[in-house]
């Protein structure tokens, strides 16, 4: 699935400008970035520096205003909306700060969602959902609704949902932002375990402690990459 050199994501000169009435806001400028398969990368920076915008573009939730972006060797700028949707469904797993579980669906149905949209058969869906929930330790809560779970449990379910379709990369946007430190660390441990088992992860965080869980740290400031460290940290 990946390029022969293992590059999963490649960005060159990506920029994002928001136009509001007569005001132009440059959220991202000249972003050059490569992510290889199996890497665990964190994007850090102060509030408003463009972290989430970058993650949205990486996750094909948004489009850049300029520059080039290749995902798995494929230029994404020419993709149609339905192709982007298909890639999001098959190749990207999302974990959000606010969990973003659907309150009117059960845990099982929430996790099942990407497979449903993929058209996976019911038996296979069941088996994959069960496996994903077991991986995050939530298999015993399949019939619960999200409101019956703690924040940490909800985020575990969200991780299961991101994993269930075996995506090429997990995109995590402040996955601990709505959690207390204990639950936050538990989620980070979970991500590290996933990475150790081969998952490629791209995580946005403003918390230095959690950024150090990643093997590559990118620092954004005013929409530009100002620093990159490649040392593998052990974490707190």
């Amino acid at each position: 699935m990946t390029e022969s050199n293992g590059t999963l994501i490649k960005m060159e000169g990506v920029k994002k400008v928001f136009y509001t009435d007569e005001v132009e806001t440059h959220a991202l400028s000249e972003i050059h970035l490569e992510i290889h398969k199996g890497q665990y990368i964190s994007i850090a920076g102060p509030s408003g520096c463009g972290k989430s915008t970058l993650l949205s573009i990486l996750g094909l939730l948004d489009s850049p205003t300029g520059g080039d972006y290749w995902l798995n060797g494929q230029p994404v700028s020419k993709l149609t909306i339905s192709e982007r949707t298909r890639i999001r469904n098959r190749e990207i797993g999302f974990i959000f700060q606010a969990f973003n579980l659907i309150g009117d669906l059960t845990v099982y149905e929430n996790v099942e969602l990407p497979l449903t949209y993929r058209g996976t058969g019911s038996a296979e869906r069941k088996q994959k959902v069960q496996h994903a929930l077991e991986r995050v330790g939530m298999a015993h809560r399949v019939r619960h609704s999200p409101s019956q779970l703690s924040g940490g449990q909800q985020q575990r379910v969200a991780v299961a949902r991101a994993l269930v379709g075996d995506p090429l990369i997990l995109m995590a946007d402040e996955p601990t932002g709505n959690l207390d430190s204990k639950n936050g660390e538990a989620v980070m441990e979970l991500l590290r375990d996933l990475h150790r088992n081969g998952a490629t992860i791209c995580m946005v965080t403003h918390d230095e402690r959690y950024a150090n869980f990643a093997e590559r740290n990118i620092h954004l400031f005013d929409g530009r990459i100002v620093e990159e460290t490649r040392e593998v940290s052990v974490g707190a």
Partner: protein, 811 residues
């Protein structure tokens, strides 16, 4: 299928979760769908199956019309029909019928029967045969051989107790012996209301008549021939006839149409289509209401939809899911609507007098059938799509990444959504105004109809019809004597104030009053087609006083106007105005018809005009003659009673029996019942339109309330800022109500010209309807505006109560 099942399951969960909104929406849709289903059932019966016969599509009605006079259907004369029969190649056969009424005597109670004279092949043209016995033979269409009759199933049951040995029995028809040769199948009563059929025979004189128009012609198309082809051939034939006999055919134009269309009638079709249009509007208004609720609901689900999109749900998939929700909602509304439709139909059917229902083509076939259920299903699907498509598309367009942010609101589509919701309210207001104006005008017109008849004081008048058979009463003197004895005898019934007779009283016999040509002395016609026409009434002198018809000039007819005195006539105001505009008609001489053998009648009085039927827009010139100078066979007798006329019926029957035991009287009814039966159809339309108008008003108000209410809840933060900045309650009121009234005002501005067009169409249809009615065009918009103001006031009141501190935390 699996994913659709999932969507359906989730949709049901969502509908149940928001069950209050679900029930409100389903209720609104039930009103719209129920009204549509009920009206469709009526339309289906009236327009699609007015003649419930097999293979009726191949039967074509051939009638003349007079476009210049606005007359849609005119019968043709025997010579015309016989030429068509000889020359037309498009038809297997042509047949004809003519309305008739006969007295059955000699085998029980004398009874007036609604029969039709038919050509012997008439049933073959229709593709039916008697259930018992045989059809007419060709030779029974010869003069002198036409002494057979065929009974309807109903008459056979009622009068002859379904006697299986009825065939061959002789009955007296207008005093002449006729042999029963057949009984038609149950339910067959074409032409409408037929109780018996007699063979029609043309004598030598009739066969060359081109102006005595009395035949309604039907033809069965040959296989492979279309109506258009048949019509083209018939037009060639009629053009040839018009070239040869211009006096008889000028201004007439052939109409060829399927029998169903002809039987349904133009008026029936017009009003049915009007109602179909009106209920379609109601449904659209309901859909707009539901769409607004859906907008509000999906606005609250932006995040959920964004999550689904992020998980790989395509736009189509999201739209599909939301549409499934709105379609399920519509189907729920449809289930309720079917019950509502059944209730409406029961109400409609139960209130129609049987004497009227039997004349309405298709009435007895009105019911909720498979077609109605299919229609309901399709309407429900369409409603679900109409009400759900805009909210679904708008929601699926929102910015996923923005919406997924913690405080993201998906604001990119918010403005467009507001505009669309505003547009929906504008459309609702415009449509409801059109319906209100239509309903208001119809109700007003109906009220005018009821009012115009109050001058007769119909609640104390008893009317009845009789037909003196030519066999028993061939002489004028015998008819004069009969009527004199009858009126004297009826006047002696206690509490009967007076008795009179006329050819036709207002609204009797479906409001049909026969017109005839007349001449004015020393004023020959320049062109034959400019013939003067008037309703010809033969009355007893007390008729005017009894009916409260006022004298304008001259004198009433009197008992002194007899056979030996100068022939006289009284004319209506409209006849005087139309034909004697610049001169005094009193003393002028007129003559019925253009035959020199008819006597000149001296005009001795002018009376007020009479309103004969609900279709009549303008006064119709009428000429009254004294019965002693022109004793009729057919008469309507009128009695002014002191109290409820119905209690006098048995006494009246006894008096008749005392004069002629064999003579049946029929249509014995108080005049108010006659008027009610005659106007019940338009009364139904007016009542249905009124109900539709009220429903539209309620739905539009709900729409305005819903939008303003949602707008206030969405703008809570803004309201808080405004109040923190010092906005007073009054200014917040003005802001919210102003927005609501702006939308209402735009809706009214769009609706008014469209309503005016509808009013113009209605004013040409109905008495008492003005296209510039102030109530319709000033009063109703004000009512609509006031209710919309109230619907805006309630959310405004809530907005004023916003606590600025709470509102500012709302973000």
């Amino acid at each position: 299928m699996d994913t659709i099942r999932q969507d359906v399951r989730y949709a049901m969960r969502m509908l149940w979760k928001h069950r209050f909104a679900t029930f409100i929406c389903a209720g609104a849709l039930a009103l719209g769908i129920g009204a549509n289903t009920a009206t469709f059932s009526i339309a289906e019966a009236f327009l699609l199956h007015p003649v419930p016969l097999e293979d009726v599509d191949r039967v074509v009605a051939l009638v003349d019309s007079q476009p210049q006079r606005g007359v849609q259907n005119t019968p043709v004369a025997p010579a015309t029909y016989l030429e068509w029969q000889a020359q037309a190649n498009s038809f297997e056969q042509l047949g004809a019928y003519n309305w008739d009424g006969v007295n059955f005597t000699g085998d029980g109670t004398p009874q007036k029967i609604q029969d039709f004279l038919i050509t012997p092949n008439f049933f073959s043209v229709l593709g039916v045969q008697p259930q018992l016995g045989r059809d007419f033979l060709a030779e029974e269409g010869q003069p002198g051989r036409n002494q057979e009759l065929i009974l309807s199933y109903g008459l056979w049951q009622r009068r002859y107790a379904s006697d299986p040995k009825i065939l061959g029995k002789t009955v007296k028809v207008d005093g002449k012996p006729f042999t029963i040769v057949g009984v038609m199948a149950k339910g067959f009563d074409y032409p409408m209301s037929a109780e018996a059929w007699l063979p029609m025979a043309f004598d030598a004189k009739a066969r060359v008549e081109r102006d005595n128009r009395q035949l309604w012609v039907l033809g069965r198309l040959k296989p492979g021939v279309s109506i258009a082809q048949a019509k083209a051939e018939m037009l060639t034939i009629t053009r040839r006839q018009a070239d040869t006999y211009p006096d008889s055919y000028k201004n007439f134009q052939l109409r060829a149409m399927p029998l169903g269309e002809y039987a349904a009638g133009d008026l029936n079709r017009q009003y049915t289509l009007l109602l179909l249009g009106a209920v379609a509007f109601v449904l659209l208004i309901a859909c707009a209401d539901v769409a607004n609720v859906q907008f509000a609901r999906v606005s609250g689900r932006q995040k959920e939809l964004a999550v689904r999109a992020a998980m790989g749900a395509s736009r189509t998939r999201i739209v599909r899911q939301l549409l499934i929700e709105s379609i399920l909602l519509s189907l729920f509304g449809a289930v309720l609507g079917v019950f509502l439709a059944q209730w409406m139909l029961t109400l409609i059917l139960s209130h129609m007098p049987p004497d009227i229902a039997r004349y309405i083509a298709g009435w007895k076939t009105i019911h909720l059938d498979l077609g109605a259920f299919l229609f309901t299903f399709v309407v429900a699907l369409a409603s679900g799509i109409i009400s759900g498509i805009a909210p679904s598309l708008m929601s699926s367009r929102s910015n996923i990444s923005e919406t997924l942010k913690e405080s993201g609101r998906g604001a990119s589509s918010g403005r467009a959504r507001h505009r669309l919701r505003g547009a929906l309210v504008v459309a609702e207001v415009a449509m409801s105004l059109i319906l209100l104006v239509g309903a208001g005008l119809l109700v007003k017109g109906f009220h005018a109809l009821v009012s115009v008849n109050q001058r007769y004081q119909p609640e104390t008048l008893l009317t009845l019809n009789l037909d003196l058979p030519a066999v028993q009463y061939p002489e004028k003197s015998a008819r004069v004597t009969f009527h004199e004895r009858l009126l004297e005898s009826l006047a002696t019934i206690p509490k009967v104030k007076s008795a009179a007779m006329a050819t036709t009283v207002p609204y009797a016999n479906g409001g049909g009053a026969s017109g005839a040509r007349f001449s004015i002395e020393k004023r020959p016609l320049a062109k034959r087609e400019d013939a003067r026409e008037a309703i010809m009434e033969t009355i007893s002198p007390s008729y005017f006083t009894l009916m409260n018809i006022g004298l304008r000039d001259g004198r009433f007819l009197s008992d002194a106007d007899g056979d030996k005195t100068q022939p006289v006539a009284v004319i209506s105001g409209s006849l005087a105005k139309h034909y004697f505009a610049d001169e005094n008609p009193l003393g002028k001489k007129v003559r019925v018809g253009e035959d020199d053998s008819n006597p000149w009648l001296t005009v001795v009085g002018i009376v007020d005009d009479v309103h004969y039927n609900w279709l009549q827009k303008e006064d119709i010139p009428t000429l009254y003659r004294p019965y002693r100078q022109n004793p009729p066979h057919y008469t309507t007798v009128v009695l002014r009673t002191d109290g409820d006329p119905k209690v006098f019926v048995s006494a009246v029957r006894a008096k008749f029996a005392g004069i002629d035991r064999e003579l049946p009287i029929y249509e014995v009814k108080p005049l108010d019942v006659v008027i009610h039966e005659s106007t019940v159809g338009i009364g139904y339309v007016a009542a249905m339109m009124a109900a539709i108008g009220v429903i539209a008003l309620v739905l539009a108000s709900v729409g305005v309330y819903g939008v303003m209410s949602y707008s206030v809840s969405e703008r809570t933060h803004e309201m808080g800022i405004r109040m923190a900045m010092g906005a007073t309650g009054a200014s917040i009121h003005r802001l919210v109500i102003g927005n609501g009234m702006l939308l209402t005002g735009i809706g009214i501005a769009i609706g008014l010209p469209l309503a005016f067009m509808l009013a113009r169409a209605l004013s040409s249809l109905l008495f008492g309807v003005s296209a510039t009615d102030p109530f319709a065009f000033i009063g109703l918009p004000l009512i609509l505006g006031s209710i919309a103001a109230l619907a805006s006031y309630l959310p405004a009141r809530r907005a004023v109560r916003v606590d600025p501190l709470t509102a500012l935390r709302y973000e």
